[in-house]
């Protein structure tokens, strides 16, 4: 696994933790510890995304440093990077 993939994996893991806390809070809206933990993970994700984008370029369409054309560039999430895009 390359350094880029490793960093992307850490971003995914942090975002997944955010999502788990998010749906937990749907049914436990008064759980302050979970809300605090969610805020921690949001900060962690933001820092990791910043680190990633500085090294490897834009991650999201909404990133300030992307051009609107980067969005259409593959590979798309279901692809393996071997697709013929013509």
């Amino acid at each position: 696994m390359s350094d880029q993939e490793k960093l992307l994996r850490r971003i995914r893991a942090s975002q997944f933790a955010e999502w788990e806390l998010h749906i937990f809070l749907d049914t436990h809206p008064n759980d302050c510890d979970a809300a605090k933990k969610l805020a921690e993970y949001q900060e962690k994700t933001a820092a990791l995304v910043k680190e990633y984008e500085q090294q490897y370029g834009p991650l999201n369409e909404t990133s300030g440093n992307t051009s609107r054309w980067a969005w259409i560039t593959g590979p798309w999430p279901w692809e393996l990077g071997e697709e013929d895009d013509g």
């Binding site: 788990e20 809206p29 999430p77 279901w78």
Partner: protein
């Protein structure tokens, strides 16, 4: 509204195509216990749900199910790429291929197109939450059965992730049901329908 995130919830990279396996994994794309039905069931039930917790959990789990639909579609796509017509026939995938080639179509493992007949919206919070709890277990059973036929770790890994999510959703829906009965008449949960009868 929804905004697309250009990534999978869990990464999928399948090295070896396997159309026979794709044929059974289709079940979770367009079958009666699949991810398309799951997302439509929860998205449709939420409009008349009482209590903020229920509206939130149905919206959020439905949204995650759409991400799972994308994951299942990705697995089927990667399992059916670069195959010859002969390999497709040997794998028993030719009956699918004749109508869809390698396109991804929502049908069950027998080729029966997706039907909203597999989901229910009763407009009664207790009834619908029981439907949702059952739906999560039915999806978990299908993933368990897929795992019986699958020894490729590239496929087992994301299938096991999806299976685990069914268990987490079952847990959240169980909490939602408990929240609901806590707000109802403790002597008779069925005294009135909180989605219809104004108390």
């Amino acid at each position: 509204m929804w905004v697309y995130e250009k990534k999978l919830q869990y990464p999928i990279r399948i090295q070896t195509p396997n159309a026979a396996l794709a044929k059974i994994i289709c079940a979770q794309y367009g079958g009666p216990n699949g991810e398309l039905g799951a997302s439509l069931r929860y998205l449709s039930q939420r409009y008349t749900m009482p209590y903020p917790e229920l509206k939130a959990i149905l919206t959020d789990i439905a949204t995650e199910e759409l991400g799972h639909l994308e994951m299942v579609g990705t697995i089927v796509y990667q399992l059916t790429r670069n195959l010859t017509p002969q390999q497709i026939q040997e794998a028993g995938f030719d009956a699918y291929f004749v109508d869809h080639t390698s396109g991804i179509y929502p049908a069950d493992a027998n080729g029966m197109p997706f039907s909203a007949g597999a989901i229910a919206v009763a407009g009664d919070a207790i009834t619908d939450l029981h439907e949702d709890l059952a739906a999560e277990q039915k999806a978990r059973t299908v993933y368990d059965n897929i795992l019986r036929y699958c020894d490729d770790p590239d496929v087992r890994d994301p299938i096991r992730f999806l299976r685990a999510r069914e268990v987490v959703h079952y847990q959240r829906f169980g909490e939602a049901l408990r929240l609901t009965t806590d707000k109802l008449d403790s002597k008779n949960f069925y005294a009135f329908n909180p989605e219809f009868d104004k108390k």
